[in-house]
Structures are given as C-alpha cells and as structure tokens.
Amino acid sequence: MDERSVGIVQTQYVRLFEPPNELRLDSGEKLGPITVAYETYGELNADRSNAIMLCHALSGDAHAAGRHSPDDAKPGWWDDMVGPGKGFDTSRYFVICANVIGGCMGTTGPSSINPRTGRPYGLAFPVVTVADMVRVHRELLRHLGIESLLSVSGGSMGGMQVLQWAVDYPDVVRSAIPIATAAQQSAQGIAFDVVGRRAIMSDPKWRGGNYYAFNDPPVDGLALARMVGHITYLSELSMRRKFGRRLQDRERYGYDFATEFQVESYLYYQGDKFTERFDANTYLYITKAIDYFDLTNGKASLVEAFRGVRAKFLVIAFSSDWLYLPSQSREIVSALKANDVDVSYCEIESDYGHDAFLLEVEEQESLIRNFLAAVARESGVT
C-alpha cells in the first residue's frame, strides 16, 4: 500500500445528546439521541493540541482518507490531502472527520429510525442548519476529550462549517481554512438547490418523504437533482475540454432522444451512481441547510459577524469556480481584515470550476502544509 496513505480505517460511531440532554436546534426543535459517524487519522499528542477537524461538502461523509478494506476500490473523499507527508500530515496531526447531522452516512438524519415511532424519520426529521452541524461536531470533540483545534478546514459546505466554527467557538479554533466557499449562499446557489429539491419532491416515488418502507426510492428525482448540481461543480471550459460536443456511441446524430452526447452520458452516469449511495431526503435537508446559511444572519454586516473571531485564517478560492466565486471569498477576507484577524488569501488558477477544491491537490497541499506548520509553530505544537 502507498506509504503516504493512512491505510485501513474504520468508521466509528458515538451516541450523543441522549435525552434529556437533547440538542436544541436553530429551528427551536429538540433532537436526541444523535448518532455521529466519524473517523480519525494520526495520533493525538500528549497535550491534545494537534487536532484538526475536516468538514465535508454536501455529498461527503466521515470517510475522508484511507480505505475501509484492502480491496476497497475507492479511498476517502480527501485522500489526496490527508496522510503521512500530505497537506494534512497525519504523522504530525490528529485529523478528525465526521458526517453531518441530517446526513445519510452514519450520522442521524431523515433515514434514521425515529425512536418515538420505530420507523425512519422521513420529513418528521427537523430542519437543520450549518450551525447545528457544527454544534453536533463540537459535542463530538468533547466526547473525544479535545478542548482546542489546531485547525478546522473544508471546502464548499465544509467551508461554511469552517466559518461557523470560527465564529461560534473562537476559544476552540486556532486556525481556519475555508476553501471554495462563501459567507452566505447566493441567490443563484439557492436557485440551483430549489431545482434539485423540486426534482425529488416531484418524483411520485418520493411519497411525501415516506418511501423507506417501499424499497423503491425516488431515484429519478435524486438523479436529476444531482445532474443539476453536478453542472454547477464544473466550468464551461472543463466541460468543453472533457467532452466538447463529442458523441458517446454514435458516429452521427440520431435525431432522437437517446443519450448521445458524451456530456449527456456523463451526467446520467453521475446522477445514477449518486442514487446508489445517497438518500433523497438527506439531499433535501442538506441543501436546505446550505440555503439557510448566512453568517450575517441577525448581524448588521459580515464585519460584525466576524467580531470576536480569533483564529488565523487561510482562505482559498479557485479562479473558475462559479458556484462560490472568488469575489465571495474576498468578501470574507475583507471582513476578517476589518476585524484585524490574521488572514491569508490565495486564489488558485484553475479550469476545474468548483470541483477544483478536490482536484487541485498540488497547490493546495503546499499552501495548507505551510500554513499549518506556521500555526503549529506559533501555537507551540511539536
């Protein structure tokens, strides 16, 4: 096995917020118990000062690095960045990644069994927010006996969690690396998400969210939602380079509605593959959480929202990302500077669009490794 891999890893589970200590959500509802799926890589040092929290994006999970078994075909979602000698160097740092609340990869979500009814929650699951996700993971840290984080990092929705962590727990977070993200979901982002949700809810198999008993989930709606979403992760240039107008299995146009363009075939494939591993209701809940995300919520401005933040920041954006634009990252940087927060910003040249945060490994690796080394040095972490 690759010596820069964390090797074989196992997802762990913990039950938190046991009644009567339920979690109070932003919506006002209470929820508990909550099972949290998480993985850890590397060793926690003696003074517990080398922990790094990774936050996953919409369709991610707790499995950030390594493989679950020797014949596991695919490693974790950020395997390129997490391992001995990699950007998040597991020979130096103790890295934690946990699935978010509302998810379908082991953490309590709409497909989990509601203890009150003995059946899956479905739409009885309360609406959650990015701040709720972070609250749950803060409790996971307590469970692990970790009082401070050397860093918290993640891209896209993961980046939103990073910002929320820094704002909500300034005493815990020593540095923050939000990547390809924004301090609030844009109208355009909400617009794409609502198309996805409508696709799912229009699928007759969705059955008002109570499809779990039927063994016939709304895969068409979910696949369509994913197809729309996937378009926003690419860029015009990356699509042109990857597919152009090339046809899949034909020499010339068929003048029918069969799948004939390569890009068409690719989106179908991505949509269908997604339905094998993802729950349609979770897609509704997580996109809703993203849409609600607005760090300025209840505050006069983003500058106000960052008041009290003490983490040192490294903000990373990608030039061709049109889902979360570099200008949205610069807004974050600007508001942090207005608060005299120590902040670095790098806009990485890339043609990959939003997906760049998972693909542009080399540039991010050196940035993150060097940034973390400086933070560790300044914090006296050895």
Binding site: K312, L314, R330, V333, S334, K337, A338, D340, D342, V343, S344, Y345, C346, E347, I348, E349, E363, S366, L367, N370, F371, A373, A374, R377, E378
Partner: protein, 216 residues
Amino acid sequence: MSVAESTGQVGVRRLDYDVIVGLVEPGSRVLDLGCGDGLLLSRLIAEKGARGAGVEISQAGVQAAIARGLSVVQGDLDQGLADYQDKSFDWVILNQTLQSLLKPVLVLDEMLRVGRRAIVGFPNCGYWQARLQLLLTGRMPSDRNLSYRWYDTPATRLLTIKDFRAFCAEHGIAILREVYLGGQMGERRHLLPNLRAETGIFVLAGDGRPSGRRLE
C-alpha cells in the same frame, strides 16, 4: 513571477531591503504592498520584531510568502486598500512596485491614509546609464538584469527621482527622508542623485491625511 522579482535584483544582496529594515523601528506594524515572496517582510519580522502583513498579486508570490509563515493576501493594489482602516499601520511599504501600478496616485493616497508613514522605493529612470542608453542607441533602456523589453515589462510607470519629488511637492506630501542606492556597489550618493542613483527610497509622512481627502 512576482513584482519584487521583476526588479532585476534576484540573487543580489538586497541593499534596498537593508535600507528599509534599517528605517523601521522595532515592534512596528508593517504592511508590505507588492510583497512578492515575502523576503522583506520576513526580515522585518525576524530582525525588527515587526507585526506584518503583505499584499501580492501573483499566486506564486502568495504561495512563497505563506511558505515563510507570513500572512499575505492575494490582491490587486490598483483596487485600493479599502479593507484597511485609517492609520492601522506604522509603516506601509511600496518597494519596487510603484512602476508596475496602473493607478499609482490612488495607491499612494491609500498608503498615506492607512499608514503613519510610507516607504516608496523605485528604479530611477534618470540614472545616467539609462539616459545614456536612450541618448546613444535611441532605444528605450532595458532592464539590465532581466531581459524585459518595452512590450513585456511590468514597469508601466517610468519616473525619475526628480519626478517623484515634484509629485510630492505638487500634492503636499511631506518627504521625511531620501535614500539613494547607486551602481553595483550600492553606496549612498548625495551629490546629483537623479543622475547617479539607480534606486530612490523615499520616506513619506502619512500624518494629516485622513480618509476622504484625495490627492487629486
């Protein structure tokens, strides 16, 4: 390529850095505009215990500066310094970058707003070798160390020490100090600097220039 690297002094002991490090008092808050790979900033932190931040336009420069453990923001100075509050720095440095700016007046104005004092260092086009080259060959002086030509040089603003003095006088900017570096030896020359200095380094007073009062 970073802006600082474009000045053709790569690999040579940076005498301009020595001068600037000498000017800055220990413990100062410093903003380095066009900080390149962050070498000057890291020297200011190491040798003067400065608290520093940088702005750099190139991704390579930002990467290199972060590798030095510095806080650097990738940005275009021609967009101004709106993120920074009035007088939030003791020193704002613009070294070997003025000549690359599209809006030098805006940037100088912003420097004097944001900093208590400013340091501006630039190549002097009045230097005798440059004058001689244009006079004798009839062609624009090209950078001696790097092979920039008129069509590919990042230097879009060509000025002399006299020009900069005149600019400051016209705009009511107080020059606190001038340092000249000349020739390969880098000694300071006070006689006929506009002719004999390769580089001019000016210390400007930022006092009395609150935001909202523009140079022009």
